[in-house]
Amino acid sequence: MPEHVILFAGPMGAGKTTAIRTLSEIEVVSTEAANSDRDAADKPTTTVALDYGEISVNEAEKVRLYGVPGQRRFDFMWTILAERAEGLMLLVNADADNPVDTAIEYVKEFYALYERGGIIIGLTRADLVPESLIAEYANALADEMPDVLIPVFTADARSHSDMTVLLMTLVANVELKQAVAANSELTSGRAR
């Protein structure tokens, strides 16, 4: 069965664990611990290693969903899990401090995944901020990385339809990139 591996990243409290729970067709494997850092995010637990879920795209295709911890002190898990991933769903809570800068920072951190398959940004809690912030993301990304094309959506991590749209857009992007790469390899092979 063909498979895709998608990574969910973003700051603490952005909704990564919730998104994977919303999408997964199996019981999610979680590694949550009591949260000592209530100033960073006021929630009782936090992911310290990974979240894991699965979803079928169709009868023949499965997507493995891996969530990384949001706190940078667990960035060794980012490296480990990014090695196998083909695409990144970056969730950013729009009502946090400096959400645009945070998104850019994460895109740079996981840029290898953009090149390998693609990145999509999901702005969560976007109903709590002015609509102009959404346009600000696109402009800031275009200014910072003019050659990079990253779709930005608003999304509710609890909404199955919202998260499915994001995931399927990302998977389509990954498949397209892989097809283009395979085709160019074939073409360069013939040219030799």
């Binding site: 494997v29 979680s30 611990a33 000592s36 850092d37 310290v48 290693a49």
Partner: protein
Amino acid sequence: MTIATHLDSKYISRGELALSGFKDLAPSLRYATLLTEDGFSVVSVEGDALDSNRFASMASSTQALADAVARELKLGDNEFVIVAAENAHVVQVRVENHPLILAALFTDQATIGKSLAAARRTARRLNVFLAAY
């Protein structure tokens, strides 16, 4: 306002007390840290060269992954974690009734069994100190 576990003077003072006797129990101890479940170092002993925050974060992830495996396979509660490498080993044990983990790095001069026994004893000592607080 609730004090974060890693900043709580009760855990820091009792942790220092419990860990102070650890080296006597296990001379091959190279480094030990008492950490919160979410990877904040509360108190550390030995090994100045080690980054205690990094060690605590990794110990937290390792513990959570081992707990997840035990849970998924329905093995009951996970009691301890051992990482046995070529030149040294890491032993992790939970401190019963508290949101704390004791993680310790030992050289290969001691057997894993001895290291585990020393770590468990230190965790129990800490538990007694905390109960008396």
